[in-house]
């Protein structure tokens, strides 16, 4: 599906992909089609472009113009470039000349970003490598809570609806960074 995003980035009508031809995806995905390569005559599966209306990505730092740095292990730049609108939630707000990718980070130009939201700890309960780890205990509590409707409602009430704001949420979950 990353190639679908790649097609989205370039506004292509479809893109050929390797794989899928001998899989059961063709039984369940009517949007996957088979097309003959006009150069070689070999058949490939083609997929439509993926162009999300909105993408929300978690980034490490950003400036007021929308330039950001984000983790290189993820596909966030591709997602931001393929989407019509992108919101970047950032750990820190910095001056434009300080939006410099560090180790395991990439730069995404402001032209791809429509809003920057400052929310330190905003990836919780997942982690932000180098800054804070996954909150395994909270994740486990969520998984347990998600098993039935009433416990899920209670989770929603406690952690999502009750906190006044993001800071209040972080206090409630006992958020800790890696001493940064």
């Amino acid at each position: 599906m990353l190639l679908g995003l790649q097609a989205g980035v370039h506004n292509l009508p479809f893109i050929p992909v390797f794989g899928f031809l001998d899989s059961d995806y063709l039984r369940i995905r009517p949007d996957l089609k088979i097309l003959k390569d006009p150069y070689t005559g070999i058949e490939y599966v083609v997929v439509p472009p993926i162009m999300p209306d909105w993408a929300v990505i978690h980034a490490t730092r950003g400036d007021r113009n929308g330039g950001i740095t984000t983790l290189s292990t993820r596909n966030d730049r591709l997602l931001a470039m393929a989407s019509r609108k992108t919101i970047a939630v950032v750990e820190e707000l910095v001056e434009p000349d300080q939006v410099l990718p560090g180790l395991h980070e990439v730069y995404v130009a402001s032209v791809h970003i429509d809003a920057v939201v400052l929310a330190p700890g905003g990836a919780h309960p997942t982690g932000c490598p180098g800054r804070y780890d996954i909150d395994a205990a909270h994740m486990a509590a969520y998984v347990t809570a998600a098993k039935d409707e009433s416990s899920f409602q209670k989770y929603l009430e406690t952690y999502i609806l009750a906190p006044r704001d993001h800071k209040d949420y972080l206090e409630k979950v006992g958020f800790k960074t890696n001493g940064k």
Binding site: L2, F20, R27, T73
Partner: protein, 251 residues
């Protein structure tokens, strides 16, 4: 060794290490701690020039994202990749999507991600599993995300496919002439009958001598519990804790 009790995953790590050759470029995907450890073990023992692209390893620096790895695979630049599945069949097809009917499954999983392409475009693929039973090794998977070889000849662009399957009991190999998975060797303390009993398809053991091999030598074990463990504590901390306990206890 103060602790000679070998965890089944450690034996699997040893088996995977032995399947890797010096100089190869090897990649692992998400949720693949056993392959990652196998790669590190190979590199620290017989294959120092192994080039590793271990997802989650802080020392692994790709430029950006999974699409980069996918591009490398499509160009034929990944020699070995690893996959697993909730079902694996005799032909080496893997199911990562659903158990039962696709529309009304008894279990739905995150899905195949890039498996269909990676299984076809990596030089060879090693499957690994955390269990070995008839629910996993089935005659035919409920859903085919990715195939082990070009059975029908419709994918002439295919580069590679299944080479081996490593489980807590044994190592199985893909036999191209039989077009099926066959038993290669069993781990110490495991019988051929036990493997046959826990596999839902024929492993072509009839008339073949199946050896018992311990893929983990004394030196391998020391390296595994030493430098490999240290690497794994960074890349897969939860897995490392499960296998080797809390950090302070083992260092």
């Amino acid at each position: 060794m103060e602790n000679k009790n070998i965890h089944p995953s450690e034996r699997m790590i040893g088996a995977i290490a032995r399947l890797l050759k010096n100089g190869e470029r090897v990649a692992t995907g998400t949720l693949s701690p056993i392959p990652a450890a196998g790669c590190f073990l190979a590199k620290y023992t017989h294959a120092p020039e192994l080039e590793l692209l271990i997802y989650g390893d802080p020392e692994n620096r790709l430029s950006e994202g999974f699409h980069e790895l996918f591009g490398l695979a499509q160009q034929g630049k990944i020699d070995v990749f690893f996959l697993s599945g909730i079902q694996i069949d005799q032909r080496g097809s893997v199911n990562l999507s659903v158990l039962g009917d696709y529309r009304k499954p008894s279990l739905r999983l995150p899905g195949g991600a890039g498996s269909s392409m990676l299984y076809a475009m990596s030089g060879r693929t090693i499957l690994f599993t955390n269990n070995h039973n008839r629910k996993l090794f089935v005659p035919k998977t409920d859903f085919v995300n990715a195939t082990g070889f070009d059975e029908t000849g419709i994918t002439p662009w295919r580069r590679g496919g299944l080479s081996h399957v490593v489980t807590p009991l044994c190592v199985m190999a893909f036999d191209l002439s039989r077009k099926q998975i066959i038993l290669d060797y069993v781990f110490p303390g495991i019988t051929v009958a036990q493997v046959v009993e826990n596999t839902g398809f024929d492993l072509a053991v009839e008339g073949r001598e199946i050896p018992t091999i311990d893929p983990l030598s004394e030196t391998d074990l020391a390296t595994l519990r030493g430098p490999v463990q240290a690497k794994m504590r960074q890349a897969y901390p939860l897995f490392a804790r499960t296998i080797w306990g809390a950090e302070t206890a083992s260092e």
